[in-house]
């Protein structure tokens, strides 16, 4: 395979698409499928045939506005339809070429305007199971270019230049990590794609895997070439059956087209990928636990160092990156590291995908440039909090992150500034809270999550999360004293300082950040036995008669 052949495939796809007057792209992501998007697609197809219209009815990946689904996009006009049903299929077909049927059109304006799509560039535009459609949108040019024009060190150099940092949460510079694995002693090496995505409410990675699996496969193949690996694993949680099936067919297609297997693109480079399905423990997203899980052991973290880059899977040098990290790689190779680095802040480059949810009008999967302010996301893209409420805070980073208060709404989204604000980038959950949210209760929610998800290996996390949760529950119920609050603060530092892996080390963050900005709410619960947001049920001491 070379660039010319890629172009031929792309031309063939374009020729095929050109045969139609219209196209209806029906989202077949998990959210829309749950509302029978497959049946809707079939109904639209049947209706078009009956009406004798020349319509291409296609399955596509996520259109981003999941809460309003089932969704479809009409071409060539570009209207986005929401709330579709089988019953309205005929209406959709007859409206083609004109204005969409009443009540079905999405108002896009700001939702789309502020976004920059790199990772999601194909999402909702191509059939995730057709590799040729991916190729039509410049897919696999990055890999072909890497294999035929660049040495592995040059590939690493491109990634370093791009400034790409790990999207799995920690933000470790990707080029640096690739370089370490590339420099590790030669021999068997592995590439792992971390698709465990355990943060409650996060579904960025799932969406990428479901909507554009080839992008991740291409990213991994480029990485494997750069670091000298011949075998890859994609670790996906079992709760993502659609992602697994799209990946399975994606891998088959990629092999068929010769992007996986031996002598890829006629070069000496060999690489193949296997899917591993995780049982859905949050901690299995931690890289060493994930590796143990792939090895068939209990998924619990191990000590680092040694880092996976020197001794990972089966003790061999292993590159492990997040789904979104890999998804950024093909365009970097295609367009160059410098192109990528144009978007973003000084230290945080490119875009970030967020799952925007909570007390917000537009619940959506969005991709924004680094450096955008939280206000632009919440008020602009998200459309603000519901009528009659006031915005209070936004939670990022999931159970490892924190709450950023309204006063800090103008900080920019970057790894550094979020940490400075007491939160973190995390993998991309963004939960908006308004005056009806109790911050102690929010802290308790995340602590409960950490407590039940703690693997139990190390004492501080295993026992500390239980005790922190108990104390938070006590505060919420109005049973706590100020001594309990002091104990909670002490515990936060013990658990943060002494835990073995990131789960325990960051578990206190939601407590610490809410204490930092909303300490008064804690004190209200304790001293006045009152929940300002009216969320917590205060248990009044039974006074014996």
């Amino acid at each position: 395979m070379n660039l010319e052949e890629l172009n031929q495939i792309a031309d063939a796809v374009r020729a095929e698409n050109g045969k139609y007057d219209y196209a209806v792209n029906v989202c077949q992501g998990t959210g829309c499928l749950a509302q029978h998007a497959d049946q809707i697609q079939a109904a639209i197809g049947a209706s078009a045939a009956a009406a004798g219209k020349n319509v291409q009815v296609r399955r596509v990946g996520c259109l981003g506005f999941c809460a309003a689904g089932p969704l479809a996009q009409l071409e060539p006009e570009g209207h986005l339809l929401k709330g579709l049903s089988v019953a309205r299929a005929d209406e959709v077909v007859s409206s083609l070429g004109g204005s969409p049927p009443p009540g079905l059109q999405c108002e896009l304006s700001e939702l789309v305007e502020k976004q920059v799509q790199v990772v999601l560039e194909n999402s909702g535009k191509i059939d995730p199971e057709k590799i040729d459609e991916y190729i039509e949108r410049d897919g696999y040019q990055g890999l072909v270019k890497a294999l035929t024009e660049l040495r592995p060190v040059d590939v690493v150099q491109q990634i370093t230049e791009s400034g790409l940092r790990g999207r799995g949460g920690g933000g470790y510079p990707t080029g640096l990590k690739w370089g370490m694995v590339a420099k590790a002693a030669p021999g068997q090496k592995y590439v792992i794609c971390n698709g465990d995505e355990g943060d409650p409410g996060a579904f960025m990675d799932r969406s990428v895997l479901e909507s554009d699996p080839q992008r991740v496969i291409e990213g991994m193949a480029i990485a494997a070439y750069a670091v000298g690996a011949s075998k890859g694993y994609i670790y996906v949680r079992a709760e993502y059956p659609l992602a697994v099936s799209r990946l399975t067919s994606g891998l088959r297609e990629a092999r068929r087209r010769g992007f996986l297997g031996n002598n890829i693109c006629g070069t000496p480079f060999d690489f193949d990928i296997e899917i591993r399905i995780g049982a859905g423990a949050f901690v299995c997203g931690e890289e060493t636990a994930l590796i143990a899980s792939i090895e068939g052991l209990r998924g619990v973290p191990r000590v680092r160092p040694p880092y996976p880059a020197s001794a990972g899977l089966w003790g061999k040098p292993t590159l492990i990156n997040n789904v979104e990290t890999f998804a950024n790689v093909p365009p970097i190779l295609r367009k160059g590291g410098a192109w990528f680095a144009k978007v973003g802040t000084a230290k945080s480059k490119g875009t970030k995908v967020f799952a925007l949810s909570g007390k917000i009008r537009n619940t959506a999967l969005i991709e924004v440039p680094m450096g955008i302010t939280l206000r632009e996301i919440v008020e602009g893209i998200g459309g603000g909090v519901p009528e009659g409420h006031s915005f209070k805070a936004v939670q990022t980073g999931g159970p490892s992150g924190g709450c950023i208060p309204a006063e800090l709404m103008d900080i920019e989204v970057s790894y550094e500034s979020l940490i400075q604000a007491g939160s973190m980038m995390g993998s991309g959950g963004m939960i908006v809270m308004d005056d009806s949210s109790c911050m102690v209760n929010v802290a308790k929610f995340f602590m409960e999550f950490c407590m039940t998800e703690s693997c139990g290996k190390c004492i501080p996390c295993r026992a500390g999360t239980v005790q922190m949760f108990e104390l938070l529950a006590k505060i919420c119920e109005g049973r706590a004293t100020m001594d309990d609050l002091d104990l909670l603060i002490d515990l936060c530092s013990t658990v943060k300082e002494a835990s073995l892996c990131g789960l325990g080390q960051t578990a206190p963050n939601p407590v610490l950040s809410t204490l930092r900005y909303f300490k008064q709410e804690y004190i209200e619960h304790i001293q006045n036995k009152r929940c300002p947001a009216g969320v917590c049920t205060i248990k009044h001491e039974e006074v014996p008669a």
Binding site: A281, V283, R298, V300, V303, M451, T452, E453, S454, C455, G456, K457, C458, I459, P460, R462, A463, G464, T465, V466, Q467, E470, L487, D490, L491, T494, E497, A498, S499, L500
Partner: protein, 764 residues
Amino acid sequence: MADVTITVDGKKITAPAGALLIDVCRKAGIEIPAFCYYPGLSLQAACRMCVVRQEKVPKLQTACTTTVAEGQVFFTETDEIKQARKATLQLLLGNHPLDCPVCDAGGECELQDMTFKYGAGESLYAEAKNHRDEQQWSPAVFYDRPRCILCYRCVRMCGEGMDVWALGVQNRGSSAVIAPNAGNELHCEECGMCIDVCPVGALTSGSYRYKTRPWEMNHVATVCAHCGDGCKVTLGVRQSSEGAKIIRADNRDKSGMNGDFLCAKGRFGFDFVDSEKRLAKPMIRNAQGKLETATWEQAIRVAAEKLSAVKSASGGEAIGVIGSNFATNEEAYLLQKFARTVLGTNNIDHARTADYARFAKALAGKPGRSAGIQDAAWAPAILLVGGDPTEEHPLLAWNLRTNARLSKARIYIANTQSIRLERQAKATLKVDDYAKLGEMLAGKGNAFAEAVKGEEKLLVILNGDVQGAALDALLKWGLDREGVQFALLGGAVNSRGAADMGLLPDSLPGYVPVNEPGAFANEYANAPKKPGMALHEMLQKKLGALIVQGTDPLGELGVDGGSLKDTFVVVLGAFESATTAVANVVLPASTLYEKTGTITNNFGDVQLAQKAADRANVKPDFEIIVRLAGAMGVDVRTLVPFGKHGLTADLGQSRGAQAGEADRHAVWLAANNLEPKLSPFDPMALLDEIERLVAGYKLDRLNLFAGNPAKAEPGFVPVSALAGSGTIQRATAGLFTTPGLSQYSTQLAELAEHESPAKAVAAD
């Protein structure tokens, strides 16, 4: 590895680069608390007790996972660190039952010790003590969930250490528990290693639970009474109305050559001392043919008179003597000396389990060719021929596994069957006859042989069933090469000692031929020079008298007692048996845990066995033999040169359970070249003679008395000829049985029943 210098708490320490900080500190006398760290097992970094501060590193570091490099600076005892440890302990205690007063580990608990040290006694978190009932996993192992601190030592010991993998972790977070992988029951080797490594009282031993408190026992270090590997075992002994009773056996101070290890037999098989079959009183067969109890004086007199009568009527050749694999070296030596010099017979043998005579002959005059059992843990390459060490020689198997795991030893296995150790082997070879192996190794073209020959240093371990020409060929092959060492595995605790001490019809101690006695010519003035009868012959030849010491030849060999109808049989033994059933005089003897003496293991390591238990009315074989000789009118000084010359220590035979003290006493005496008072019943009185006459038994006494192995390399005198007659039985041992004492252990019987194939679900 190159040495580096680091600074810990202001002190400069030099250590090999890459060593673990926790080890480096401990060696330098700096205490680092640890629950999850266990030397030799994989690193967990789970308990977070070992945290230290490293200069210029933002977070506290775990000493158990930090490797040392030049110039590092650490602090281990600052207030910050103490506070962190205290906080961790408080979290642990928040979910701990604090039932120390009734806990088996009370007084031996690492959690208790640390709580005391870091002052974390007050429980901050009174809320969440989730109670669960104690579980019984097997007759040997009980688990008390609330006490478990989840250090995973047990899981790793069972998996990595034992290669059994019977334990695992279930659930996660604070509901995590340790559980048998097979379900509610443990089906495994029942070695109890998990109990041993448990730092708290979460895993307890079925045999010891709630019996006593650690500080109410005396602890006596001795040698395990079962297989021929010779583990050091510590017996916990409590005084009782009947004497001193053994409550438990364990590996308390880990100072023996077995290091961390004890198998099920060593740990649970101590209760043979209390077997219902123990002989309690001397007995004499009366005129009606019934055994009736007698006093010691009567029984000894009857035996002595009859032996004297047979000797004067038919000569020494009419008397046979059968010794055992379970007596001390001193007893074995004394028995054959008594036979040769007092009875005047060479009809002496024991149930041989390996051809040590042939082995000694081959190795004679070639120092450095015989290995110690610890070499199996260090040697870079091992060729294991025959046997199944996992069951028959558990310590050897442990050493081999440890060696393969930690030092990447290359293990080559040649066997007629498939054995578990193959999992650690680099190469295996199925053979149908060991006789062809020597030739095959010498030949060309076989990949296994080539790999073995590629090894510069090789330890060849031969099981006892490699005999005769097969043994000769392998020994010759190895002796022709440089860097090859050998060991030959016998069946029971002192199989090697029995042979070394001359319980053989044709060899004197040290495998000196009876017909060319050399130095023994003067020492054993009247000893016969013609080789005597071997074991089977003695049982068939209708001798006038037969002395059987510490063994049951009729039962073990399945010989019909009828053949001894006209023979006067004297049994010195601890248990009722097929042989006592036909005996004329029965003299109740002490078992190995009730006496003192030296024991030689399969590899020639000599160790001190010390008296732990005490039992009314029984006597050590040593004393019985001396008394018999005395009653026959012999000046016992000629047998046991006590009192005057060259006697350098008292083994504490008479001090019984206070032997710990005697131990120190003896070390002190030896160090100061002093002579204690001795009696003819003190086996120590013979040690000088053994050292003087038995080649290879020049022992390092300081080491011996300190409880360490003192190597013996017998056979280094030129041995001109050996008749080499006599059968060698294949001694088949199992996980819970070694021929001999294990059959009298109720606890081992229960474990065997629990693990019997009918009960055990497929545990693999």
